[in-house]
Amino acid sequence: MSPILEIKNLNKNYGPTNILNDVNASIEDGEFLVLVGPSGCGKSTLLNCIAGLEPITSGTIRISGRDMTHVSPKDRDIAMVFQSYALYPTMSVAKNITFGMKVRGIEKAEQDVKLAEVAHLLQIETLLDRRPAQLSGGQRQRVAMGRALVRNPKLFLFDEPLSNLDAKLRVEMRTEIKKLHQNLGASMVYVTHDQIEAMTLATKIVVMKGGMVQQIGSPAEIYMRPANLFVADFMGSPAMNLIPARVNMNGKGASFTITRSAAPPLVLHDENIKSLPDNVLLGLRPEDIGDASLRKGRKLQISNCHVDVVEPAGADTYVLMTLGGVEVTARLQAETAAQRGANMEFTFNMAKASYFDANTGERLN
């Protein structure tokens, strides 16, 4: 079976400015693709191109195997949820949801059945007679989803649908979207600048920057094996530690020398690496640096380091230190004995390490 969505060599220019540069991506039936990146990276433009709301300069877009590159939005078999919800202000909730069907000339009886189904699914039955202005943010969000769901399209497109909600509601709606995806088995493309949203929702993530795809992969791949410095830094909170290190290749893999201002250099080893340039950036997630007193009996490298800052965050405690001239964060258990200004034994899990070229920023292992 052909992929639900297939984007090939897509380019988009506004005059001389290149907005999207040779984008390639595809999703299978039932997949949840998240386009993530900082603002201005072209992710929303890409979504608009998929919807047919923006013309593209070159390349092809296929939906369910059909070439949709020059097809108008209404014939692409898609539905879209917008950041501002874009509810029709003068229409009731029910009319908002059925507008698409009405435009397409679907029988009134069928409209009512579908409306009832969707209203039940999203628990907005009591709101059907209200105007959008009389709804709260979360309710508007549901109506916007209802308008998309009622169409039962091949592909759902979401353009930052949660960014106008407050923090608590955002987490709730995130879970709800995830459930919806699982229950409906629908194919979705979702745009966000929030990497946590991307990680929690996606089955596949496309990380973008400056109109170019940086990496495509499952959330785990993106998180564990970021393709370059940008992805490493962008995905994950707190961000991945990127520590400048000097490499010394010996018969048994590599050893890394990391300078410290008030102590002898920190030396770490990785036996599973064949070759590296002389200078690299060593990437370690905060959770790959641990408290030695709480993580015994594992094959981890231990080193004594100076603690600069201790930040308790409930479930975890973040400890900041300075290694190789940069600030390094360690995610420790809440019950850690780490003290500001004191020295402590830390474990370094080099099996999880990423190495990046200091000049090009590309991943080396």
Binding site: K74, M80, Y88, P89
Partner: protein
């Protein structure tokens, strides 16, 4: 210490109270000043000629008579004809109503396109239309006369409608464009994905939102067109003249005794429709003018 903390707010209140009433007094003075001409017009129109000649300008009529009003409406002389304002009033209605409607509809569609369906030269086009707003009436008189002559519309009410529609489009487009530009573009996108066409989106989504700006535009256009004298006097002929031209003729072409009461009554009659429009739709006018700044 406690004393001062009590008297201070009291003093503040007093100060504010006095200032507030001074402001009201000032506003009332202005209001009276601006009402004065209307007062003189109304009282004079209700007096008979004898009383006007002997009495003072500001005094109330001793004896109220509507004779001047009926003369002004149906028998005052505009040059050689003596039919009053009545036929010209209907000329103005026949001119203003279609011209207002057509220019408002075109403005709404133009505004919708310029604000929500941008294309390559849409900003240039809009700028050119704006430019039209700033061209003085006098500049277009001759070219317009040529155009009307060539199209065979010269001297007809249709010709005047045409002139006012063309002249009004700049303003009506500006009003609607500024109103529609505050509506998020995502609304059009959502409707496009829903399958709605250009016109469907306009009629189902934009027009129902537009009441405040329609009212503003209608008031503006109606006032402009009803009160217009220059186009009316330039492009009409006997029988198609609007009320402003007739009023001028009544006031300026009387022979013998000047009938001030008739002149005043005629002037009020000529101004009544615009007054009425303001009174009926005034609150929407204010609302529409400020609507752009408040998000829904």
């Amino acid at each position: 210490m406690t004393n001062s903390s009590i008297t201070n707010p009291l003093r503040e209140m007093m100060k504010r109270f006095v200032l507030r009433w001074l402001l009201y007094l000032l506003l009332c003075t202005f209001a009276l000043y601006y009402m004065m001409p209307l007062f003189v017009m109304i009282t004079t129109s209700l007096k008979n000629l004898e009383e006007i000649r002997t009495g003072s300008l500001m005094s109330l009529p001793r004896e109220i008579t509507l004779a001047a009003w009926s003369t002004a409406w149906s028998s005052a002389c505009t040059g050689i004809q003596c039919e009053g304002l009545r036929p010209y009033f209907w000329n103005s209605v026949l001119l203003a109503v279609p011209a207002v409607l057509i220019s408002t509809i075109i403005g709404a569609i133009n505004g919708y396109v310029v604000a929500q369906w941008r294309f390559k030269l849409s900003n240039v086009l809009f700028a050119l239309m704006l430019f039209g707003c700033f061209i003085p009436f006098q500049v277009v008189l001759l070219p317009m006369a040529r155009v009307l002559g060539m199209t065979g519309l010269a001297g007809s009410i249709s010709g005047l409608i045409f002139v006012h529609v063309i002249y009004g489009i700049g303003f009506t487009t500006l009003f609607f464009r500024n109103y529609y530009v505050t509506i998020p573009v995502e609304l059009v996108k959502a409707a496009k994905v829903d399958g709605a066409s250009f016109w469907r989106i306009f009629f189902s989504i934009f027009l129902p939102l537009s009441l405040p700006i329609i009212v503003v535009t209608v008031i503006w256009q109606f006032t402009q067109i009803w009160n217009d004298f220059l186009f009316g006097v330039s492009f009409s002929q006997a029988g198609t003249q609007p009320i402003t031209v007739a009023l001028n003729n009544i006031v300026n072409s009387t022979t013998g005794v000047k009938e001030y009461n008739v002149d005043m009554a005629a002037a009020i009659i000529a101004a009544l429709p615009t007054l009425l429009v303001y009174i009926v739709a005034g609150k929407y006018f204010i609302r529409g003018l400020t609507a752009g700044s408040v998000k829904g």
